[in-house]
């Protein structure tokens, strides 16, 4: 099951290469270059070296004692709560898991002789990671970002500019992540010769879903090693938030063949999956074709894409990576959701109990992690991917709480 996708980039009925003809030659060239890099030990060695010395890997697997105590306090039938571990991707250079994938893609771009890097970003974490490594490798970097997201993620916008990237404001459509991706595709189609498109999640045309997952799967490999060392057993459940789904695929991949490990993704339910204002593609969408792949999408009765809504810009996307659609359909992974309000409460709770400010994206996974920990009881063991840190979100939180800073 961990051998997907097939040679056409399909995960069962999902994935594929739904792009304009102009982009077929570059994505085929990218796939070829990626296969060569996969078989080149020097590529992996350079990735590992930079992961250790530049990103700061391995990231810790941290036993969240007070979060565990909190879960146990109000547990079901007083049976206690499972131990909760946090995979600390928030401690990576640039503050989130995004940098793992960018490192891989920019090393590949360098190998292919590309000098100009484009990226889309929602919360700005992928944009910052791309701008960072582009600076490090001396490449030109252009980040497409929705006008709405630019407003709500100002610190990250300034960070990207400091790093030498150009941030292009995207005003079309809903002016959020999906529109940024449309504009990045438009740029790529116009500048195919010198430009490499660094996609930030496990979506887009083949080989992106596979390649991004592979670069992110360092999270799961470390996690497995670390939990075996700490607890001498595999966890009962691995939990992660999902927008496009790269941090989730990154931690899931290593555990897919371990059938006793539950894999749980948490989508952004916004104001509720039963309202129009959510970003839960699996829980509230249906299969369709967007941004190069066939996957679950938020769409109307006529196949037009619906706007997503989430308080967190990074989850505000109407689609999801095709491998998640596949894992959902075959029942290997479970997909739950958390609302804006739950995420905001969890953000504050995690900050106060653990002294860790989680990204609003990651905060979505916390309430469901606590639920699962309570269901399992005190013999259980769960791991949550804390995919990023929340410094970027303090302005948003202050607005919500009515605090002036």
């Amino acid at each position: 099951m961990s051998n997907f996708p097939d040679e056409n980039g399909r995960f069962g009925a999902f994935g594929g290469r739904f792009v304009a003809e102009t982009l077929m030659p570059p994505i085929l060239a990218l796939e070829k270059a990626y296969r060569e890099a996969q078989n080149d030990p020097s590529f992996q060695a350079e990735f590992d070296h930079m992961a250790e010395h530049y990103i700061g890997r391995p990231s810790p697997l941290y036993f969240a004692e007070r979060l565990t105590e909190h879960a146990a306090k109000d547990s079901d039938n007083n049976k206690g709560a499972a131990k909760i571990y946090l995979k600390r991707e928030d401690l990576n250079h640039t503050g989130a898991h995004k940098v793992n994938n960018v490192l891989g893609q920019l090393l590949l771009a360098k190998r292919m002789g590309k000098t100009r890097i484009i990226a889309e970003t929602g919360a700005g974490q992928h944009g910052v990671a791309t701008a960072t490594l582009a600076a490090r490798f001396g490449m030109q970097c252009i980040v497409f970002m929705g006008e709405v997201d630019i407003q709500r993620q100002k610190p990250n916008v300034f960070r990207m500019k400091l790093l030498g990237a150009e941030v292009r404001s995207v005003t079309s459509g809903t002016a959020t992540l999906k529109d940024a991706m449309n504009d990045a595709l438009r740029d790529w189609v116009t500048n195919v010769n010198d430009t490499s498109y660094c996609i930030g999640t496990v979506a887009g045309p083949h080989p992106y879903p596979e390649m991004v997952r592979d670069f992110q799967s360092i999270i799961g490999r470390e996690t497995k090693r670390q939990i075996l060392q700490a607890e001498d057993r595999l966890p009962d459940a691995v939990i992660a938030c999902i927008g496009g789904g790269s941090n989730a695929m990154g931690i899931f991949h290593e555990f897919i063949d371990d059938k006793n490990v539950r894999l749980i993704g948490v989508e952004a339910a916004g104001r509720g999956v039963d309202t129009k204002f959510h970003a839960a593609s699996l829980n509230g969408g249906s299969p369709g074709i967007l941004h190069g792949n066939r996957t679950y999408l938020l769409q109307d009765a006529h196949g037009q894409i619906n706007d997503a809504h989430s308080i967190s810009a990074g989850l505000d996307y109407p689609g999801i990576g095709p491998e998640h659609s596949y894992l959902h359909e075959i029942g290997r992974a479970e997909y739950l959701s958390a609302t804006d309000d739950e995420a905001v409460a969890a953000f504050q709770m995690c900050t106060k109990l653990e002294g860790i400010i989680p990204a609003l994206e990651s905060a979505h996974a916390i309430p469901r992690t606590i639920d699962i920990a309570r269901q399992l009881g005190d013999n259980g063991l769960v791991i949550m991917n804390l995919s990023g840190r929340g410094d970027k979100d303090v302005n948003t939180l202050a607005d919500i709480l009515g605090v002036e800073i």
Binding site: V19, A20, E21, T22, G173, N182, V189, I289, H291
Partner: protein
């Protein structure tokens, strides 16, 4: 009207050939700014010299289009256009014209959502002759192609400046009607490709496909239309017409279409 099954595309290119001239293909966005105005423009196009009509189907996320077509699509969606509305435009058009080919152009998701087989049957019924689905490259169009073959509809493929010799046979295999050559690597409405490159690309594609080659993306003026028509079997203009129709209305759009058609037909 005749109920038999005319091959309007082949007939059109045969007629152009016997008159020894290149054709003119005009794109409009279906339902922009509303059903009635869009249909009136469509109905006036053949008399203005349009040989083939490309009828745009709007999509919320048109990643291969420039701003002119994107905004036209959003206007059309605001007027509640959907695939059914586009089919209805074709049905209405066919009440008075049974010769001008209609090619619908758009993105996969709306027709995927309807179901490819359902769409193909409905398109045939509406008098549509073929489709260009921008985000279905040869690697992904087998299912729609099978549905189209059942109803003898043409699924038209795009060739681009990035389609090299190794790839061209993949693009031209199983294609029908004509091949659409996108003259520049870019979105709709950008600048035209270099004419020398266009000439050699057209020759290459014609040889590989054995089909007529139409050239579009970036043609805006009658001068450009004449220049492209020297090499191509037909010239496509989209953004310039859509933009003029939006800004200056029906009569100006028809005037532009006439001048472009005359320019294309000169050769």
């Amino acid at each position: 009207m005749s109920t038999k099954n005319p091959n309007r595309i082949d007939n059109t290119f045969a007629n152009l050939k016997s008159n020894n001239r290149s054709g003119f293909v005009a794109y409009i966005m279906g339902g922009d700014p509303d059903f009635d105005k869009s249909l009136a423009l469509m109905k006036a196009m053949p008399d203005a010299g349009v040989d083939i009509i490309e009828l745009g189907m709007p999509f919320t996320d048109p990643a291969a289009d420039g701003p002119v077509i994107e905004l036209a699509g959003l206007r059309s969606l605001k007027a509640k256009t959907n695939v059914g509305t586009i089919l209805k435009m074709a049905t209405e058009f066919r009440k008075t014209n049974n010769t001008t080919p209609i090619i619908v152009m758009g993105y996969a998701n709306p027709i995927h959502h309807m179901g490819y087989a359902t769409f193909a049957a409905a398109a045939k019924n509406a008098g549509i002759d073929g489709a260009i689905i921008v985000d279905l490259p040869p690697e992904e169009d087998a299912e729609l192609r099978a549905a189209f073959e059942t109803h003898d509809l043409a699924l038209i493929r795009l060739a681009t400046p990035t389609t090299d010799d190794a790839r061209l046979p993949i693009v031209t295999k199983d294609t029908k009607g004509f091949v659409y050559y996108v003259s520049v690597a870019g979105v709709t409405g950008k600048a035209l490709g270099q004419s020398a490159d266009v000439a050699s690309a057209v020759a290459r594609i014609r040889k590989s496909s054995g089909l007529p080659v139409v050239v579009g993306f970036g043609v805006k003026t009658p001068e450009q239309a004449t220049s492209v028509a020297k090499d191509a079997d037909a010239v496509v203009v989209g953004s310039a017409i859509v933009d003029t129709f939006f800004k200056h209305g029906h009569n100006e759009a028809i005037k532009l279409i006439k001048s472009l058609a005359d320019a294309a037909h000169k050769t």
